[in-house]
Symmetry: C2
């Protein structure tokens, strides 16, 4: 115990030195605050009994944020719409813990593994926060020996990235996943995933979009046909994935210099990845001299052809583009891959904002088997909607005054014009709550009438019950319409019924937009 | 790098030795598995490139669990009901990150601080998983200088406890919190919190309950009146808190031997903590010889009296008991405290299960100030519903066959009696999805009719659209009622409208319980 205390003191000294050094070197404020916060964390460990007022930067951890009630209204509204669509397609809901045994995540994410958050070893298992919802799903299927499942999962995932938070990228963020596991006929569940994405983007109505599709088997066949050795397929693939951010010349250079692809092979790849189109392109490539010789390219192209046929049947053909430059970063995809992007910048206030990729996914037939001792496979296909970017867009619109949100949906405020009406207000509130009416009152004993009505106006509460001595003596109360300021007396015993009618009518009017 | 690798190899060797030792000593399986899992975690760190099939115990971390779709149905249903009540009272929704800077949590939980999960220091800030939702709320209020807020927050919290999982206690679990922050008149928001708890327990309908209330100022005054020194109030209080699990004699012994309370003082306390009743008891104690001399006891009793008066006005008096033995464990309470307990064991199958405490909370007026550099206070009162126990009860009822849940709410299954109808099925599915109808189909090209109908029966899907060649030629499709097995032909173009009518009528019948 004394020894660990000494170690801690030593760490505190070293950390303090570091902070002083950074300050002397005039490092960035953010950098310094990070180290100061670490120093205070160490000090906190030293003296957990210290109850003196704390002096530290009051903030959320780097890359995270709180959601206030307006942001939550937006978020809950978006998640509700997405959930409705997932359920419309018969998806069940499951949930997994926020952390997993570290070895569950090991070897699944390639280069990105360094972004995994680990928990401190406090004398138990070695744990990590989940990095996505796909690997936990695969672990769940293998562990419970489930071979068919259509599930959705909406939850937060964690990545120690250095995110651009203004562009809706965080270290803690929501994913909305829809996946279909099971041994089925080719492309039927895959096509439904695309349909689900179009329904979501249509209902969220945040701008025009396009769904890019490609196939990992086609990419492999293309690499093969261009003369890339098989052991370099995956790394070449992750270089291709950068095409949405970098121009071809830079991607080409990286392929040649870092991935060991020959310049000739790179140039051949360069020709293919410029291609995009519809099922005609797939048909054309099936007779391409080089590709038609590759079994895996043919398999990929046949798959794309079938997928596009199903998309046509479901009426979403116009929203899909077959794009040979789409590669997706993650290692575990084995078949079709897709990505939804907004095609136009979004107008927020007076500014245009580029949003880019907004959903993505694909087929991963070998992931579940990695968790099974007999390597038993469960084929899966799924899609993940990147809602944080959608939240960011809507929040920016809110900030620019382009949209308005209500953070509560209270229908009735119980007010009194005179003093000493708290008891009566309490009774009426309880009666309304018991009837299921969304009701509020002031928490002050004798609130001012003006303040009460102002609260109603500021919070969009449509009705107020106004109590007064003379009315109560006559057995009536007043209902005030906040917008029109009209007041009407109703018998006390008919209050609930009258309010229910008014609220229902008000709801109808709202729906009709008047 | 090489050095850290060597250190890791050394740790792996030591851990391996430990595992062998435990196995030789025939330790419990759980204990051994825990250490094996740690060993594999270390090995995973050593060789992150290893893609060989993994051999480790496939499990969720200790004290956590997955929720399957039935459990999620139960959970979402319960959370939905609770959310509806929180919103009925005008609460806004906020969210905070799952982890906080460690120093935010330091010094808030007393003895329980050792149960906090820390994140590994990966070269950034020192972070911990949230332990409850109250401290993050206080941090949020102080950081954003918010002085009034009525908010709810439903989220998971984390405690490194050794929980009894069969009794609904986990290391990762949901809390449902409702809190009112702001400077208001005494006991008005406090009484509303109690009303909220009664509404939740009434709507969940899991058994008879009672809400115990007490007041920290009264406890302080009682300790003072009994001769406990002021610096021993908090520790004596946490001993009193054990009265729901231990008999008075044991609590008395702990007070005397561990907390340094004199036997005389302990005996006087023992008399008080046996008392419980209604507002008459509060009135009686206000003229108690010893208590009436303590300013803080009088303050607490006056508070309880007022609270019980408001409870009477709101019609929940019968559900409240003023109980002097209620103490609550956490340090931060400053005023009223309360706890809801089920009064009867719950019948599950043929067994009786005791559930105990199911909600709790109180007033904490000084917590926000702990985060403010000028110690500016924001008075708060709130309640937290322990939904995991409620989930446990309902899951046990499910397992015992006492309740049935549906995990999807699909209304229509698109089936075909003959081969080669996939294209037609796809078109109809898309049409129904676009109309907002919850629809499913088989992911097989040519599924067997029997299997399709069986799927409908097993999943409670009320209607099937059955496609056939002769019908399609005549421009009609069949709708089959799964329960009655009746089939009717409808014109293809009227399919959506007809299904909408049938689904609406089916919903009405369901509601009427027929």
């Amino acid at each position: 115990m004394a020894e660990s205390q000494n170690l801690l003191l030593q760490q505190i000294k070293e950390q303090g030195d570091l902070v002083r050094k950074l300050k002397a070197a005039k490092e960035s404020n953010e950098r310094i605050q990070e180290e100061v916060s670490k120093l205070l964390g160490l000090k906190a460990q030293l003296n957990t009994e210290d109850a003196a007022p704390q002096k530290f930067t009051l903030k959320t951890p780097k890359g995270t944020r709180d959601y206030n009630s307006q942001q939550m209204s937006i978020r809950n509204n978006v998640l509700q719409k997405i959930t409705t669509i997932f359920k419309k397609h018969g998806a069940e809901c499951i949930d997994t813990p926020v952390f997993e045994l570290k070895e569950v995540l090991t070897g699944k994410y390639g280069e990105d593994s360094k972004l995994i958050y680990d928990l401190k070893d406090q004398g138990g298992e070695i744990l990590s926060l989940r990095y996505d919802l796909t690997v936990p799903l695969a672990r769940y299927l293998a562990m419970n020996k489930i071979t068919t499942l259509k599930r959705y999962h909406i939850a937060k995932v964690y990545r120690r990235d250095n995110p651009a938070m203004t562009r809706g990228r965080y270290r803690e963020f929501y994913q909305c996943d829809f996946d279909i596991a099971g041994q089925y006929d080719p492309m039927i569940p895959d096509a439904e995933c695309l349909k689900v994405v179009t329904e979501i983007l249509d209902v969220l109505d945040i701008g025009k979009y396009i769904l890019k599709v490609n196939h990992r088997r086609l990419l492999d066949g293309m690499f093969e046909a261009c003369g890339v050795p098989a052991d370099k397929f995956r790394s070449t693939c992750s270089t291709i994935d950068k095409l949405d951010k970098l121009p071809w010349t830079e991607v080409r250079t990286e392929m040649i210099n870092e991935k060991g692809v020959t310049p000739e092979a790179a140039d051949k790849i360069g020709e293919y990845v410029q291609l995009n189109g519809s099922s005609e392109l797939a048909v054309k490539l099936l007779s391409d001299e080089k590709l038609s010789k590759s079994k895996s390219a043919v398999e990929g192209l046949e798959g794309i052809k079938l997928l596009l046929h199903y998309c046509e049947l479901m009426g979403i053909k116009d929203k899909i583009i077959f794009d040979l430059s789409l590669a997706r970063g993650l290692d575990y995809y084995t078949g079709v891959i897709y990505e939804a992007v907004l095609t136009h910048p979004i107008k927020i206030g007076n500014e245009d904002q580029t949003v880019g990729s907004i959903a993505g996914g694909g087929r991963y037939d070998n992931l579940v088997g990695m968790f099974d001792s007999k390597n038993k496979q469960v084929p899966c296909v799924g899609v993940s909607v990147g809602v944080e970017r959608i939240f960011s867009v809507l929040e920016a619109k809110l900030a620019a005054g382009d949209i308005i949100v209500r953070t509560t949906d209270i229908d009735v405020y119980v007010a009194s014009a005179q003093k000493n009406f708290l008891d009566e207000r309490m009774k009426i509130c309880a009666e309304l709550w018991n009837a299921g009416i969304k009701t509020e009152q002031s928490y002050k004993k004798n609130p001012k009438m003006l303040n009460q009505l102002q609260h109603c106006e500021e919070n969009g509460i449509p009705f107020a019950v106004v109590l007064g001595e003379s009315e109560l003596k006559r057995g009536v109360v007043k209902i005030r319409n906040i917008t029109s300021r009209e007041e009407a007396e109703v018998p006390r015993e008919k209050l609930v019924k009258e309010l229910e009618t008014r609220i229902a009518n008000f709801g109808l009017k709202e729906m009709n937009g008047s």
